[in-house]
């Protein structure tokens, strides 16, 4: 099989040499990621970054979380406090009544050389000093960017084929969940044609984010607005109150940070150059057997 003449590789720098032990491969560059998905992705990434750092600024104005409509100041779910100790501050984080010393990170942290009381440290907020008014300005500006961008994306995936074709798990995907879990644990990455498609766990992760976390961020965000409470009383009813909505907003925000960490890890694990090229230019390289028939989509990007 391996002695069949190999088609010239697309990447001239790395010619594929016939090797009797392995089947010969050729590199195919596919046009994988459409322009509108790439534009959506980057506007979304930029918006979420500014929403996070401005959101933490807003959180710092009252670094405690509650459940229900009103704040039960004596029993917060989470609180980050500064406790005075000998002219300085000790950061104390309380979660469900359990307290931890978190000086330097939560409750009290360094600001221009001295320890100050603040929920999250200044390097995680925009602006870096305590400025609720401007934190809110940044937050609502990027909330609009995020919401408009997200609405356009949803319209497109519903009208277009992206949701059905690329994101929704097939019956075969569902059957392959156990195998996919093992593949992920063993860091076995798909090869060839399969590498160009989203695997089932990837699809599920994207769907949880797209249909779960991102809409929840918008809805819980609106639930904190007194004006929107009057317009849509169902909002505080759904989330069990303004303070519950604030808590869910916070949890979803950090879930998105968790998604981001795994997302970036996977980009590096799967090949940072190829993955970044795919989300910037749309082109994604895979290796297929040299004798494979011309690939669907092959050459589009050439």
């Amino acid at each position: 099989m391996s002695d069949i003449a190999v088609t010239p590789p697309l990447n001239p720098g790395a010619p594929v040499k016939p090797d009797p032990a392995k089947p010969a491969l050729r590199t195919v560059v596919l046009y994988r990621t459409k322009l509108w998905v790439r534009v959506w992705h980057w506007i979304n990434a930029l918006s979420l970054f500014f929403l996070l750092v401005s959101g933490l600024q807003i959180f710092n104005a009252h670094p405690a979380l509650y459940w229900g409509q009103a704040a039960n100041f004596t029993h917060p779910i989470l609180a980050m406090q500064g406790v005075p100790v000998g002219g300085s501050w000790r950061g104390v984080t309380t979660v469900f009544g359990h307290s931890f010393t978190t000086t330097g990170l939560f409750g009290a942290s360094d600001y221009h050389g001295s320890i100050m009381r603040r929920g999250f440290p200044s390097w995680l907020t925009i602006p870096s000093d305590r400025d609720l008014a401007n934190g809110r300005r940044w937050h609502f500006f990027f909330a609009w960017a995020f919401a408009i961008n997200g609405a356009a994306y949803f319209l497109y995936i519903l009208i277009g084929r992206h949701l059905k074709k690329d994101l929704w798990p097939t019956a075969e995907d569902i059957r392959s969940i156990p195998r996919s879990i093992i593949d992920h644990i063993l860091f076995r990455h798909p090869h060839g044609e399969a590498a160009a498609r989203f695997n089932v766990l990837q699809k599920l992760a994207y769907l949880v984010v797209l249909l779960g976390l991102l809409p929840l961020m918008i809805l819980t965000g609106l639930t904190m607005s007194p004006g929107m409470n009057a317009a849509f009383p169902i909002l505080p009813w759904i989330f069990g109150g303004r303070q519950s909505a604030r808590t869910i907003h916070f949890i979803c925000a950090w879930s998105l940070v968790g998604f981001f960490a795994i997302h970036i890890f996977q980009v590096f694990a799967a090949g940072v150059f190829n993955e970044m090229r795919s989300i910037i230019t749309g082109r994604f390289a895979i290796k297929v057997p040299a004798d494979a028939p011309p690939f669907d989509g092959e050459g589009v990007a050439r």
């Binding site: 750092v53 870096s128 401007n134 500006f141 007194p226 004006g227 303004r242």
Partner: protein, 257 residues
């Protein structure tokens, strides 16, 4: 030194470095006039869209007596450092008169008894602080709309300004004030509250009278109101942004979000 510790230290240093440079970049952005002008432009969009969605008569959610917060936080000013005010507070405000003036045909001077005799409303609502917390309280007061009608609001009036007795920052010296548009002034839940949870207002909560404008944030709920003025334009008043916090720190005038 074990490997993992070194690794952790390396990552912590790398993270702090990345954080510091991102922070420096963000602060540079935040100090750019053009960037901030763009960022500020979202307020107009928020206000217009909320006005579009929110019909004038739509009420803020109201609650049951058992939902009233046992501890209602008093924020901002919690008192008035003025001997005349303290004297009146001790006596129950016998000489206090609420002045209603500006762009009106018949300026009014209303005592607490006058306010109690006007069309009133009792409502249990949630007070949403801009900082993020909320408290539920019961408010009783005179509806602002009928009082403005009684004074004969002129057609040129566009805003209602509330002048207060308190000074948040004694060094800056500026007295607290707030303003709302006519849509909010004539909203059925907009009242000049003289009682909280069935008792006359206490000093921390704005005695003798505070504003309740329930579809907006806490800083709009001006306390210690002394004078109400109907105006056509907010720009000539104090810092020109329509309120103490709007002038001093840049909170949005439209506080529906």
């Amino acid at each position: 030194m074990s490997g993992p510790l070194l690794n952790r230290r390396f990552f912590a240093t790398a993270l702090a470095g990345a954080g510091a440079s991102a922070l420096a970049a963000c602060d540079r952005l935040a100090s750019s006039h053009h960037v901030m002008k763009t960022i500020y432009s979202a307020e107009g969009l928020t206000r217009r869209i909320q006005r579009l969605i929110l019909s004038p008569g739509q009420l803020a959610p109201e609650f049951q007596p058992h939902e009233i917060s046992p501890m209602f936080r008093a924020n901002g000013s919690v008192g008035v450092d003025d001997p005349d005010y303290q004297d009146q507070l001790a006596k129950g405000f016998p000489d206090w008169r609420l002045e209603v003036g500006g762009l009106v045909k018949r300026p009014l001077k209303l005592s607490l008894a006058d306010l109690r005799a006007r069309p009133g409303r009792t409502q249990i609502t949630r007070h949403d602080c801009v900082e993020g917390w909320s408290c539920i309280g019961q408010w009783t007061g005179a509806k602002l709309g009928p009082i403005l009608m009684e004074a004969g609001l002129l057609p040129t009036a566009k805003y209602v300004v509330f002048y207060c007795a308190d000074t948040i920052d004694p060094e800056a010296g500026a007295k607290y004030y707030e303003s709302i548009g006519l849509a909010d002034a004539f909203h059925p839940q907009t009242i000049l509250a003289y009682a909280m949870n069935g008792q006359p207002l206490t000093e921390p909560h704005g005695a003798p009278v505070r504003l309740r404008v329930e579809r907006q944030l806490g800083y709009k709920q001006a306390k210690y109101i002394m004078r109400i003025e109907a105006v056509n334009d907010l720009k000539p008043i104090n810092g020109g942004k329509g309120g103490y916090w709007e002038d001093s720190t840049g909170y949005e005038w439209y506080a529906g979000i």
